[in-house]
Amino acid sequence: MLWAYVISGLGIMGFMLMRFSRSEKRADYLNTLAIIHSAIYLILSVIALIKIQQPSYFFSRYLMIDRLSVYEVLISCVIFLLSSFYARGYVRRLVHSGEIEVRELTLFYAAYNLLLLVIVFAFYCNNLAFFWILLELTTILSAVLIVTLNAKENIVAALKYVFTASTAMLFSIIGLIILFALTRHATGTGTLNWDTLMQQAGTLSPRLFTFAFIFIFIGFAAKAGIVPFHTWLPQAHAKAPSVISVLLSAVLLNIGIYGVLRLYAVAHKTTAWHTVSLILIGFGVLTIIIAALSMLPRGNVKKLIAFSSIEHMGFLLVGIGLGTPLALFWVLFHTLAHALVKTQLFFSAGILHQQYHSNQFEDMKDVFALQPLAAWGLIIGSMAIIGVPLFPVFLSKLNILTQLADYSLPVMFVLLVCFLIVAAAFAAILIRTIPQSSESKLEPYHVSLSMQLPIVILFAGIVLIGVYFPAGLHDMLMGIVRSLGF
Amino acid sequence: MLSFLIYALVNTVFVILISPLFVSLIKKVKAYMQGREGPPLLQTYYLLGKLLKKETVYSGNTSLIIRITPYVNVVCVIAASLFVPVIYIPMSVGGIGNIILFLYLLVCAKFFMALAGLDAGSTFGGMGSSREMTVSAVIEPVIIIVFAALSLLLKTTNLYQMFAISLKSSLFINPSTLLISLSLFIILIVESARIPVDNPETHLELTMIHEAMLLEYSGPDLAMMEISHAIKQTLLMAVLINVLIPWGLTATPGVLSVSISVITFIAKGAVLAIVVGVFESLFAKSRLFRLPNLFMLAFFFSFSTILFELLR
């Protein structure tokens, strides 16, 4: 089964490297290959969901397909497919305006597809050390993707990203080694496989486990954008082309949270559970506070969206830290909801960037007249991300906050205040921007169908999930929560 | 008591005789590194002999200080040489051998030298004194920490016992003493005024630190200042050598063991002198404000030694 992923991935890459003469055709050719690639992966993942018995292990237990992995892989494939569509028009426009060299398109798309391959395998990983290696690979690949724009700030942003993430991941390795030694001490053979860890969790010494947990958490938190390791995030997400921002925000942050979730599932079985919960909730609350406060003075639309990502990741951490089955159910739902809404926000921001050649809010004049679709996308996306009812984020926020109230009422009030601040930030900016009009008439940028289509699909998808909760999804999420041991 | 007098005589005479040799050896090594032949190994002895034959001239503006400083220096340094058993380790008498007292005897000599630099009222002398005191003010706390680490490591503040304990240890090189000897090496460089702290062969007064204070001396006075500087260097070399690699050193005086000890000390001292010469040739003189970095390195190593001692 997993070989199918590898073979199709490498096959597509092989096609990409074949030479093609005309530059215009080349961009489309590469993009078609990317779309086919994501589509194949989506189909394979659906097959894996339906056909493969979960959990099943491959490759001498280094890889596994289990419910949580398939769920995350499905989300990632959907996002990649949508952004491949979007990339068609977006990259064409970038080439046209000279922001990307034609020669680099091959590198761009090769890294793009390789990133999908690596992400899928990271989710399918059973071994923590292998997971770590793949996480580092995603850092490298996404940094390459950020840099393909011809700008010096991109290089600075990419370097900051690579350094912060990799430094934190080195701490993670220290934690992994301690964990390995811990399991070896407790049972005789060291292991870093998730399933063996879940089984042996009861025998591990709680103090040492907490010690190892803190180190490993540092690495995953840096990848997920948790304060105080988030410093790379606003710059990287803002400077990258919008296509890549989508991937960074919706998929890569998910991997970090996935790692923390799996680790928490192991911690749940040890007696150090309460300390670990406290750590997670503490970091989550800190992240939300800092993110909310940073959103107020923002003038750059993509930075605003990036801080919103940080805030949501903090919220996910709080949800995970709570540890009740209900909280975890809604955490899993929230990853899906957040991915979809964030994608839509970045797509709209991308169109606006192409129109105004700038990300600053004050440059966006006559938004409704020039780009109605993107404007509506921004408005609806902002409402969705804040948590307005009718949209899915409302459901998850409501339920997780209710669980938090059971745990600690003052913390819930602090979070409510922060969410109010976030809502105020978004609202203030939108209210200021939409009525702006300029004296000189700007040319409307013609948005290609490939860029409009994903936004429309996402509109429909977000409202659908917000209003109607599919029973299949409910069963799947309950299955995941139970398989994690809650 | 008598044995101590014999020890005092033998130690002091040996140190006085061997110091100019080490000074010349370092000069020779530096010359070879620069591609020259350099002065002969006995040059410093000839220099001292020549100076002793000349007459002393004092400037009209000087006072008592410049007249007594050479004597004070030589006396302090020779007293300090009693503290460092170079050839064999005798029984300790009174407080002799205490490392803090050793340090302060050397500081006393330095203090008088600085005062005398000011005595003639010349600008270069004053400049040399102020620079020397600045460097000293920064290095003294570091030296205290280094000696404290050394005492913690060897569990005593008495140099005689330190060397005895070091001699008894069965290890090739004790890792902790290696760490502290890195600090001791840096202190050797600073106290004997070598590159990168100060260039001992410079003839430009504006670049001098130590030499500037010696500009006003002549004849036997200058000979005494030179020999006291050389003896100070040898004593610090001896501390480093006998703590790190004490073979050859004996605790029981006997003609055979003392001769072996003499030969091994000269050999070890020569190796250390060559190392110092090479080290000097590899670096350039640091700016005055960059010197604290070097001292910080010494501080770091001694602090780590203390830490690793606590680790046991």
């Binding site: 390459v144 | 910080m296 770091f300």
Partner: protein, 225 residues
């Protein structure tokens, strides 16, 4: 295999030397000296790995020694020197937040904190003296590397700080637990790729954008020139 106490002492002496190189990396300002110190440090760590191999006989350690020497003592400094030559920078004199003196003081404090926290937790795993010593030195080396990343301005020194961190983690892993070799190999490959990427990007910051993108386009061209 061989179980002489002298091996333990040789290891401790090597630790001392590694610590000396670590503090030199914090303070030295000339770039070529930094590369030399890093190379020497890698040699020392390879020597530690070799001594551990002699002690335990595990073939993984021997392979790790060879890998460390080939990769970190030769390859990485060679790559860094090529970059430095094309970037035409000799010294990195700018420090941010902490001067060298402050860095050394902070480094000393860090060693102390690491020792204090490790001595509370790690004796549960094994009370071997060398075990804790190795762990403390490894993590201290990693923390000092992190300090280099934060206190220097030039990118190439930051890369060197990251490499020092890697060395520290390697040292730590030698003593606490050896992961299976395939994992170690993949980790090393990963990190080498990271270094290559970071150096290419660092080159890009200092050269003109056109040159940079030509080189980014085909890595092989970059190595050929």
């Amino acid at each position: 295999m061989i179980n002489l106490p002298v091996l333990d002492d040789i290891t401790k002496i090597l630790f001392v030397l590694v610590l000396a190189t670590a503090v030199l990396i914090i303070t030295v300002r000339t770039l070529s000296s930094l590369f030399n110190i890093y190379s020497v440090q890698s040699w020392f760590i390879a020597a530690v790995a070799f001594v551990m191999y002699l002690k335990t006989g595990s073939i993984v350690l021997l392979l790790l020694t060879i890998l460390t020497i080939a990769g970190k003592a030769f390859l990485v400094p060679y790559v860094m020197r090529r970059i430095q030559k094309s970037m035409n920078m000799k010294r990195d004199v700018e420090f941010r937040y902490l001067t060298p003196i402050g860095s050394i003081l902070v480094g000393t404090a860090m060693i102390f904190i690491v020792y204090w926290s490790f001595s509370k937790f790690l004796p549960e795993l094994s009370s071997d003296d060398l075990f804790i010593f190795g762990a403390v030195i490894g993590v201290s080396l990693a923390l000092m590397g992190m300090m280099v990343i934060f206190t220097r301005k030039r990118m190439i020194t930051k890369i060197l700080g990251y490499l020092t961190m890697e060395n520290g983690v390697l040292l730590f892993s030698l003593f606490i637990a050896e992961l299976p070799f395939i994992i170690e190999l993949l980790i090393v490959i990963d990190l080498v790729m990271l270094i290559v990427l970071a150096t290419v990007l660092a080159f890009g910051i200092d050269s003109s954008i056109d040159e940079f993108h030509t080189k980014l386009n085909s890595f092989t061209l970059w190595f050929k020139e």
